[in-house]
Symmetry: C2
Subunit: 192 residues, 2 copies
């Protein structure tokens, strides 16, 4: 019973991710996306695009990774992908994930902290694919939303291409399609 109580406390705590705002707006909405709904969206995207991963992936591990990949933002906040990653920010996120997962009974969180570290390192087939998918919805938001977050944050096209080319590490075919869309965005003037 005590273990269930502890897990319910964890469930309430992680809900704070619903208040962490990201930089892009979902297609059709005039508000910024939060990290909880983003997490759902990337899980579903990963599931439906799994056949295009470069390497065989265990999709169930990918989904678990994506379910927890942003938990560190409860304490550390969201950082735009185009910002240079600072060691301070990375440490704050790792500490945040660790704190939240430590709320689970019987060190059950340890397994998920390892999974989070694997995602961050991006060195396994699953993490390469998960990190590729993590980039897709915000790009679609910008592509369908006049490049709003690129403009608001002064992100030049060179940076958009360079940072997102990591999609190709997880799925070359997906990057080929997205790269084409980014080129169209340059042609139409929403990406400069």
């Amino acid at each position: 019973m005590k273990e269930i109580e502890q897990t319910l406390e964890f469930i309430v705590e992680v809900e704070k991710l619903k208040a962490v705002l990201r930089k892009t707006k979902p297609v059709g909405l005039e508000r910024r996306e939060n990290s909880a709904e983003h997490s759902w969206h990337v899980c579903l995207a990963a599931l439906m695009l799994k056949d295009y991963a470069n390497e065989p992936v265990d999709i169930d591990r990918v989904i678990k990774m994506l379910l927890i990949h942003d938990l560190g933002e409860i304490d550390a906040g969201d950082t735009i992908v185009y910002a240079s990653e600072t060691a301070q920010q990375k440490t704050a996120e790792a500490e945040g994930v660790k704190r939240v997962l430590a709320m689970l009974p019987d060190n059950r969180g340890d397994e998920y902290f390892k999974l989070w570290c694997e995602f961050e390192a991006g060195e396994s087939a699953e993490s390469r694919y998960a990190r590729a998918i993590d980039r897709v919805p915000p790009l679609l938001h910008n592509l369908r939303g006049g490049g709003h977050a690129w403009k608001e944050n002064d992100i030049p096209k060179e940076k958009v291409f360079a940072v997102n080319s990591r999609i190709g590490d997880g799925s070359r075919e997906l990057w080929q399609v997205i790269e084409g869309k980014l080129q169209q965005a340059v042609s139409s003037g929403i990406l400069k």
Copy 2:
């Protein structure tokens, strides 16, 4: 390439779930929850409570079920769990799920439509557990949030106990803990 394009259209379409508002407010927030962030929350809750399922469950199937369980609401909207289910509402949801999943290439959606039907029927171990978990966060919202959705929708305590006792079909231990919390809510006067 065409298949990837189609899948990206699906990814943009399902994003509409971020605009479907539910009846409860997340703990600590002054706005109603949307069905996309709810979907993430129940996936994570299911993962962390899996050891308390009455029967052995394939947690990966449970998570996939919960990722898609609300897709029908894009067309049909959210209905409070305490409303009597009408055949019309159920049909609208099933048609909605079918429409959205049909956007996927190569009839890939068929497998997920079956999974959605399994969830709705609630007759397998996985669906019993998934349906139990689906009830947990809204109860926590009410319990931590002064019973706001019970009050706003005039839900009497008899109905709250009766409808949520289905949690016991998925996890007796979890229902025991939640039932205790509901009794406390009656004692403290937030559930009448």
